[in-house]
Symmetry: C2
Subunit: 187 residues, 2 copies
């Protein structure tokens, strides 16, 4: 549980009572590559914290998979839309490397939010942080040509380029796999 608390304590101190409730409500598990944590169409019922490994979220659009994010060690994963509205998710969450992760059930998290102000605060800070990251990614998609988007990713999240496969990266960057292959091959 220590890595779990470390991941969250950086946002706000967690009191004794909150810590005790968390221990009761947080699950830990190891999952193999290929595991689907959330299937599009189902309601996202858990928030995940990736302890080790790698995962992605993707949408199906015209029969093509469209990666919307990658998650690595320490990242929180969920379908924000489905988790917060309790409606079926549009996205699927798939484990890309053998991973270990923590998770909290939706109702439990609501209980924690309601009873421990610091956990509510951590939830807000996390939500703000991921908003800012998404905003940057969005801006890149909005304004940069394909090559610049690739270079930005190379600078900001090199582990994506090292660990994810080309088709996933290409759709994340909003370009075809062939275009990405050519850019990477320096032409």
């Amino acid at each position: 549980m220590k890595p779990f608390f470390d991941a969250f304590r950086q946002y706000a101190p967690i009191g004794e009572a909150a810590q005790a409730d968390l221990i009761r409500m947080v699950a830990h598990e190891s999952v193999p590559k290929g595991t689907v944590l959330l299937q599009a169409g189902q309601v996202c019922s858990r928030l995940y914290l990736l302890e080790a490994g790698m995962a992605r979220g993707y949408y199906l659009h015209d029969g093509k998979e469209l990666t919307s994010w990658f998650a690595f060690e320490g990242d929180v994963m969920l379908s924000m839309h489905s988790f917060t509205t309790r409606r079926p998710a549009f996205e699927t969450i798939e484990i890309l490397e053998n991973s270990s992760l923590y998770s909290i059930e939706y109702e439990h998290l609501q209980y924690l939010y309601a009873h421990h102000a610091e956990i509510s605060t951590i939830g807000r800070l996390l939500s703000e942080k991921y908003y800012v990251e998404l905003e940057e990614h969005t801006l890149a998609l909005q304004v940069m040509p394909a090559k610049a988007r690739y270079e930005r990713l190379l600078a900001q999240q090199p582990q994506v380029l090292q660990r994810a496969q080309l088709s996933h990266i290409a759709s994340y960057l909003g370009m075809s796999q062939e275009t990405l292959s050519r850019i990477r091959g320096k032409r």
Copy 2:
């Protein structure tokens, strides 16, 4: 102040004490078209709630203005990046129509978050809501061709097309003004 409370009460009930503090800390003002609420390079020190009117946020990229969002009646406006990190903003917030708005100073909001759990909750819910909206916009930029992005905006936020000028809309949709003009003209 009533419209202000109405805008927030839909997320969580606001207690007496919180209401009293809010009244002390919330400012109200009317601003003319063209007003700059936040200039890129400055730290975003206030959160705004637009009561009436219209505004946008934009970035400068290669000397071009790049609209990242439009705000209308009832929308919250800030540079999330700057407001949360206390670092200079990359974006400028500009009033596009004579408007009236409420605002809260950063330190005051932190006080409210710390002393009134329901306000912290409202902050988290707002942040989650805007994240979901941004996610949809991002997905559109990532996967849809120009024409489909235009049609999606037409269906989802027709008031943008009615009230904003073409160059702003075009950059918001990630295309040139000429392309948008041609799409709109049905060719």
